[in-house]
Amino acid sequence: MSDDAPRLEGPLPPAALDDPHLQPYAKHPERAQAVAAVAMVVGFLGFIGFGVAYWVGDSAQWEAVTLGGGLLALGFGVTAWGKYLMPQGPFEEERHEFHSTEAEREAMTAAVTERGGMVLRRRKLLGGLFALGSTAMGIVLLFPLLRSLGPKPGNTLFETNWTKNSQLVTVDGRPIHVDDLAVGGVLTVFPRGYTGSSQDQVILIRLAQLGPLDPPLVINPPGRTDWGVQGYVAYSKMCTHLGCPVGLYQEQTQQLVCPCHQSIFNVLSGAIPEFGPAPRPLPQLPLTADSAGNLRSQSGFNQAVGPGFWERP
């Protein structure tokens, strides 16, 4: 179209170029333009800088400064352009309520209830059968969706690999001799053949030097007086709260602390929880020493280790 072609009437009235609504916000547009231009040049240089930083170096810092700096400057320039140099209005737009006319609404309801209802009410059997079929489909489709994912828990939540006479070994598979730990020493141990296993992790603590544990020192729950050997006791290392490894031993207070949510277990009296959200003592592993002086378990745990779950009695 050429400049002198007749102007079509648009949907809204035209504005003159000197209409105050079309003026930039800036009092001194030339200055604003200069600022935006400088920012954009800085942005450009920043991106070039990123290219250089990428090729010559391997520094996340330089990459960030150049790329981030470039983006920041260019973004600032564009924002300034928009905010200070483009028409600011204020312009307005009308809002219309979106609901339709009453007649249209009625027609809509009628289409659903009367036309649809007619079909459904006349063919209740088909409607029912369709509902039945799709419900059945929905349910059976859950099988592959859920059931294929993995095995049922079975007994795995109750079992560990600790059995009668399992040898205690370190994570590198070394057996533990009764002389290995000094008093106050702790060690994470596993049954031989299962090092690194989550379910089997046990924390071994040496509380005293010699002999079966002193009754005044250790108030073992009834029936557990001989579960330690040579001053050693062993507990499941899996927190009964959420299963974190209870890794922090405080020797002065004889407490095991779980770093996850600060549950504290008393090592001297069967690892009962003294503080925090853990609900149950850490299960204790009965210990013995074999003829070579290496530590072994008297038996497995007498209960499930770790956090609570529905099937746990």
Partner: protein
């Protein structure tokens, strides 16, 4: 001439798509100006950065628990047996050029994404922007918040370092705590009792890079679509009514400003990504189920759940041959479920209470709705309390008080503090409403002292924004009358072809 080409192409498109009317309406769409409307933009642009950096890191990350010997360039790890997931994440940080920048920018973007959503949501709440007709968009927003939190958790579980592994362990036990089905869900999802058969990393991966982002993109499209259809809310002011929107048009002003804002948000994320270390997985080491690191907090948006777990008393329920781990189930499943459900139904609770069925396009000032503001403040206080409770050990150390004291402080505070905060907020709102003219921008006065020592005051020059010089709003004009360039007054005024 370029204008002619544009004209021809637009006509070509309009013949086929009929875009002229709708397209122009879209270009004329009015955006009200208020700083608080930029919060949602921060969220949107952080998400854009998440997608871009996410695609980059997914080219190098290997979602596999398979054990290999590390041979990369990070010397302390050489020769150790690590999972491919961990090795590739460390490799991404040290052996891929720009990899560390992208990985850390991705992580920072996740934190800022969720932070801006939270603040955006607070803005919408306190100004009543969720009222009719915008209830859907409120619900869509809450859903994106939930999915964002979930995806953040999935994401930081991927590198298989000591911290992320601990998080997965905790997640497993939380699933396990669900009565009746928990143990089954756990072994199904993980392919066996914890740690399962190594399938969890590929599963988390596909959820993290495909499924959850797709859901978020769908919701985002709905969110923005509704925004266009229902138009923005606006604060009251000169010429602003329930029946109009006053501000600047989409094209060119808003486009320019928002593009600049996209760049600046991206800039901040990359600056953080390169200059502020986040999640140094090479220091944490490969995850082992029997190892634990101390005093690491989860990403902030998980903190409130962690805090709730910490202050919960150890109320395990045992009976009839079963155990319900209430000490886990209540704070980690019921509590967040309750919070999110309250969020979702709030618009309906409020409209039932106020019996208000009208459309609302003008925003409330928080003080004008003391009850809502009080409820919001109570909720924020509760969430802040459980959030701070997740640092109970750090706080105990810092203030040199026993951990027990800190714990009891928070147990009491989560109940009492929200009530106190609500009462105080309610009172403040009412006082502010009583005070005349609070919060209005006042026109400054200039005091002059004459040579004889007399003082006189005059009004300062009107400034934009103080309402004195504001023009009446007009519709965006169809075209602009051309004036010879030498008479044109403004720079950058767009000339429209006739």
């Amino acid at each position: 001439m370029i204008d002619k080409t544009i004209d021809r192409s637009l006509r070509w498109l309009d013949d086929r798509l009929g875009i002229a009317k709708g397209g122009r309406t879209f270009l004329d769409k009015i955006f009200p100006d208020h700083w608080s409307f930029m919060l949602g933009e921060i969220a949107l642009y952080s998400f854009v950065v998440l997608l871009a950096t996410g695609v980059f890191v997914s080219l190098y990350y290997i979602p596999s628990a398979h054990e290999i010997v590390y041979h990369g360039s990070y010397i302390p790890l050489r020769g150790q047996r690590v999972s491919e997931a961990y090795a590739s994440s460390v490799g991404l940080s040290f052996d891929v050029k720009s990899g560390l920048l992208m990985r850390q920018a991705h992580h920072w973007a996740a934190n800022i994404f969720l932070g801006s959503i939270a603040v955006h949501m607070a803005r919408v709440f306190f100004t009543g922007a969720f009222r009719k007709p915008r209830e859907f968009n409120w619900i869509v927003g809450v859903s994106m918040l939930i999915l964002g939190i979930v995806n953040g958790f999935l994401g930081y579980s991927l590198p298989d370092d000591l911290v992320s592994g601990t998080g997965i362990r905790i997640a497993y036990s939380i699933i396990e705590s669900i009565p009746l089905v928990g143990s089954y869900l756990g072994t199904f999802l993980f392919g066996g009792n914890y740690p399962g058969n190594g399938i969890i990393i590929p599963r988390f991966y596909i959820l993290h890079v495909l499924i959850v982002p797709l859901l978020i993109i769908g919701l985002l499209a709905a969110h923005l679509g509704l925004l266009v259809k229902q138009k923005h809310t606006q604060f009251g002011g000169k010429g602003k009514t329930e029946h109009n929107v006053v501000g600047t048009p989409m094209f060119p002003t808003f486009i320019a400003k928002t593009t600049g804002f996209l760049f600046m948000t991206t800039a901040v994320l990359f600056l953080l990504g390169g200059l502020a270390q986040i999640n140094p997985i090479w220091q944490f080491g490969q995850y082992q189920p029997y190892q634990i690191s101390y005093a690491v907090q989860p990403d902030w948006y998980m903190g409130w759940l962690d805090g709730a777990l910490r202050i919960m008393p150890s109320w395990e329920w045992v009976g009839w041959g079963h155990t319900i781990a209430l000490e886990v189930f209540l704070p980690a499943v019921i509590f967040p479920g309750l919070i999110f459900n309250i969020f979702i139904v709030w618009p309906f609770i409020e409209s039932r209470h106020t019996k208000d069925l009208a459309y609302h396009n003008l925003l409330d000032r928080p003080r004008d709705r003391p009850l809502r503001t009080a409820v919001g403040v109570a909720m924020l206080t509760l969430l802040f309390m459980v959030f701070f409770a997740s640092s109970d050990d750090v706080l105990a150390n810092f203030f040199q008080v026993p951990l027990v004291a800190v714990l009891w402080f928070f147990r009491i505070a989560v109940v009492i503090a929200p009530v106190i905060a609500a009462v105080v907020a309610y009172k403040i709102c009412n006082e502010m409403r009583a005070a005349e003219g609070v919060g209005k921008r006042k026109r400054p006065q200039i005091v002059t002292r004459s040579s004889t020592g007399e003082y006189s005051t005059t009004d300062a020059e009107p400034r934009p924004g103080d309402g004195v010089e504001e023009l009446d709003a007009i519709p965006v004009p169809t075209y602009i009358d051309l004036v010879p360039p030498e008479l044109a007054t403004g720079v950058g005024v767009r000339r429209v072809m006739r």
